[in-house]
């Protein structure tokens, strides 16, 4: 049986269908869970990208306080696997599940392009299929992607070149226990070579390996 993945949908989320497609392609059985819902019982929870609540107040601020987010917190605190992509990363940060802040790009513009990235941590459920130091390409599409470092985050992904003014070119971080991964680039948009590169696939396959290895926590 394929592992079950929840794709959390807030009003304004717009990468939910891409994420669903990517999960299915990788071998998960995805289901949508809306902002009133509960993520209990899933093998993986994905917070996809988009503009939840129109980025009102701050990107991710309102979504972070919705009922489903409370269930994501409970799930994460029990050790459940949570992947936050782009706006999902911003939501996780607003929930306080990942350290730091995500503010407007220093260019002042929305940036939508493929970028070069370096994998800086492979000893985790999300990136085990990559090699330490491996250079990959993923697309970014954000206005609020400038990572402001607070404390000493576990950095898993860095931009090779400075693209948005992020501290130390940080593009993705893990929680202390490494069960939560937030990143600004979009692995779900890099699943097939037909669309450029398919480095994103290894993110979802790494998670699958981890779950199939009997590491399920929740």
């Amino acid at each position: 049986m394929n592992p079950k993945a929840a794709v959390v949908v807030y009003p304004g989320t717009n990468c939910d269908r891409d994420t669903y497609y990517a999960l299915e392609l990788a071998g998960f059985t995805p289901e949508y869970v809306d902002w009133h819902g509960d993520v209990k019982g899933y093998d993986l929870v994905v917070l996809p990208g988009g503009f939840s609540y129109g980025d009102y107040l701050r990107a991710g601020a309102v979504a972070a306080r919705e009922p489903v987010s409370k269930s994501v917190r409970a799930y994460a605190e029990k050790g459940g696997l949570v992947l936050g992509i782009c706006n999902g990363f911003q939501v996780l940060m607003e929930m306080g599940l990942l350290p730091g802040g995500l503010l407007e790009n220093t260019s002042g513009t929305f940036i939508c392009k493929w970028v070069d990235l370096e994998i800086t941590d492979t000893d985790n459920p999300f990136l085990s299929r990559f090699k330490q130091g491996e250079k990959i390409k993923l697309p970014i599409a954000h206005a609020f992607g400038r990572y402001v470092k607070v404390g000493d985050p576990k950095v898993a992904l860095r931009y090779v070149e400075d693209v948005n003014g992020s501290d130390e070119k940080i593009a993705g971080i893990l929680s202390e226990d490494k069960n939560i991964f937030g990143l600004m680039p979009h692995p779900e948009r890099a699943m097939e070579k037909l669309l450029g590169w398919d480095y994103g696939k290894n993110v979802f396959l790494s998670i699958l390996d981890w779950i199939r290895g009997g590491n399920r926590v929740v």
Partner: protein
């Protein structure tokens, strides 16, 4: 009898956090208008009314609103002013 109290909340990035919008606007004021602007930071203001039995209680409600949602204490700071 509860009364309505009116506040302005000023929210700014903390001092060590860069504000690209403010930097851009400052450059325009200096470059296009030759004004000696040495620093400019753009924050946001929230115009808020609350019902309370006293000014102290009203301010406590506004501060709770800031801490729960309006302000992200990781990167922002705020001031509350009754008007």
């Amino acid at each position: 009898m509860p009364q309505t109290y009116h506040f302005m909340i000023d929210i700014q990035y903390k001092g060590n956090v860069r504000d690209p919008r403010g930097e851009t606007i400052r450059k325009v004021l200096v470059g296009e208008y030759n004004l000696p602007v040495t620093s400019l930071r753009i924050g946001k203001s929230v115009n808020i009314e609350v019902e309370a039995d006293s000014p102290e209680e009203a301010e406590a409600i506004v501060r709770k609103a800031c801490e729960e949602l309006l302000v992200n204490p990781v990167v922002e700071q705020y001031e509350v002013r009754m008007i």
